[in-house]
Symmetry: C2
Subunit: 373 residues, 2 copies
């Protein structure tokens, strides 16, 4: 999979920008505020239809324009012979057709809990080869794997961040996973309501089994798919770990499943009623990254954490490739800051097995394909 | 306020390290994993008695040692003529005196909700000029302001992150604030319990007023102190904004108070009973940083966000100086990564008004006082 060209209109600070990318690796070099990350944001939106950093879609529209467009030419399929022209357009829409009724400042910053941010309403339209499509049909045609410094949360953040990460990978490659995940989440909500009712009104015990069966079924499906991914990442990370520093880095990824079985449900029943909440299952899963037998989150330096994260992103690329038979494009936002020279060089030597777009304030290598912003 | 020397024993990767700092600015330069951040962590622990990155105090002890010591020589008072020798020691302690009873791996990674991380128990002892003190009497003798890349959460994170930030500044300089904050939090908890009781059992209405009076009183005290801080930061940030780039950066900090009054309590009463939770008050406060009239969190580049964050840290230094008549030491962890050359230079020219310790993978200036790790 390759992205040839991208054309941005009124996207963030780029009023009108056309870029061509190298088939191997492109460096986007520019000063702070030049709009380097915005280009990766646009590429990633073409891939997922969502921004990884905007709170509202309308945030990407260059003020005072009314719409913003991203166009991209993609090559895919065997030997990259299939061409796709992808287009995504975001337009502002006044809330309820009457924008001036609202006090904008109040809406944006309100501390009044009942006020919603209606001001940010926008519409999104997508086309494939000039033909309008649904968002669902558009998403995932262009496959990409993104790394931003904020991703460090996967390592240092809460288990919820890690579950979000696993899910985001699996959502991309498996529509069944998404459906199963939705079923699980709905059943979980219902069972928690039931637990509350049981505690407060002492009735509803007879309905527990029904929800527990659904949770057990969908939960173990989720566990199976997550295990498959995490086993793959663990195996591959070990290989990358060796490349990173001639055997010094031993990376191990351990999946910490919160098992969901009839026995565990009986074991936790009383606690769950007291807590009015389901205490076991995939929504309590976590995984641990160890590095030379220590928890990377607690004992790794930030530079080490970043290096391992890039390795993880490359494993993710391999996983998507294995499952979809397409090599995603790697989007690396400022991976070099915080890294010393040795690690910069190792990383640069690792990336060129797929098309890669990298932003940086300075060029870390010679003879590279460079876009200066 | 100046830190002359620091001596680390079994602290993280430093088994035995003695350093002397320059009176103005010291650069700590080293490769990834050399232990640069660990030195700032130690300095900050001498200041606050807590680590800003360890989940458990015992994490800082170099394995397999049983204790870790930080010693620091501080100069303070008028013309920095007072000397203080500060010492902080952390020792491992077996849980319930019997460490081997526990399955360590199970304890550390357990997905079983009832298991606590008892394995990480440790004790902390502090001395001032050789005399044992309470943690309370030790904390704050050495005043410091820390910047780490993770602080970007103050800008891009949730309102809770920003409240935590404001509180951490005020806790440092005002013991009344801490007490008022505790009173507020306790009353809030009680009122939320009461709201739950009212919803479920339709009784307890008569007790609402009691808790609301406490919340109103302590809440408005909190608002007053937070306003004082945020007004100060806003005023100072405007000045630093100009230095940052000859008038280009217009920084504005807007405090978004969630007011707490009798009227608002009546207005929200029904919603609060339905939600079983108090919806107004300082625990819903937020502040917004604008930058050239845009929200920095949504429209600033990461480089811009980092630059403004450093400016914010310098305002914080000024605030502590104004309130305590002591100039805190500035600890800057890797502020240069992600910044272009121009911004690096501007920042370096801004910092030397107080003692500053900076870590970096590369030296960003010539003729600096450097510690090579």
């Amino acid at each position: 999979m390759i992205v040839n060209k991208i054309k941005l209109t009124n996207f963030r600070n780029h009023k009108n920008l056309s870029l061509e990318f190298d088939y191997a690796t492109t460096f986007i070099i520019g000063d702070n505020g030049a709009g380097k990350t915005n280009i990766l944001e646009a590429l990633h939106m073409i891939s997922t239809s969502k921004s990884f950093r905007a709170r509202y879609d309308s945030d990407v529209i260059n003020y005072p324009a009314q719409f913003s467009t991203i166009k991209a030419s993609i090559k895919t399929g065997e030997e990259n012979k299939e061409n796709y022209d992808l287009e995504l357009q975001i337009s502002r829409r006044s809330p309820a057709g009457d924008r001036d009724r609202f006090n904008h400042d109040e809406l944006m910053y309100s501390s009044r809990p009942e006020i919603k941010d209606e001001i940010h309403t926008s519409t999104k339209k997508v086309k494939v080869n000039g033909v309008p499509k649904s968002i669902h049909g558009f998403t995932g045609i262009f496959k990409s794997v993104l790394f931003t410094p904020q991703n460090i949360d996967v390592i240092t953040g809460s288990p919820a961040e890690r579950r979000k990460y696993i899910d985001s990978v699996l959502f991309q490659i498996d529509k069944t996973y998404k459906r199963t995940h939705n079923n699980y989440t709905k059943a979980l909500k219902q069972r928690n309501k039931l637990l509350e009712m049981i505690r407060e009104e002492r009735k509803g015990f007879d309905q527990l089994e029904y929800w527990e069966n659904i949770l057990e079924q969908s939960g173990s499906d989720i566990h199976k798919m997550r295990s498959d991914l995490l086993d793959f990442l663990d195996k591959k990370a070990k290989v990358y770990g060796k490349t990173l520093n001639s055997g010094y880095y031993e990376i191990e990824i351990k999946y910490k499943k919160s098992l969901i079985t009839k026995e565990r449900f009986s074991e936790y029943r009383n606690k769950e009623i007291a807590a009015k909440s389901t205490l076991i299952g995939p929504h309590k899963d976590d995984f641990v990254i160890e590095y030379n037998n220590y928890r990377l989150s607690d004992f790794g330096s930030r530079g080490q954490q970043r290096t391992v994260l890039v390795a993880l992103k490359m494993c993710e690329t391999d996983y998507i490739e294995e499952k979809t038979k397409e090599t995603p494009v790697l989007l690396l936002d400022d991976i070099f800051s915080e890294l010393d020279k040795k690690h910069r060089e190792i990383l640069i030597n690792m990336v060129p097995k797929q098309q890669t777009v990298i932003t940086s304030t300075e060029l870390p290598v010679k003879n590279a394909f460079v876009i200066n912003l």
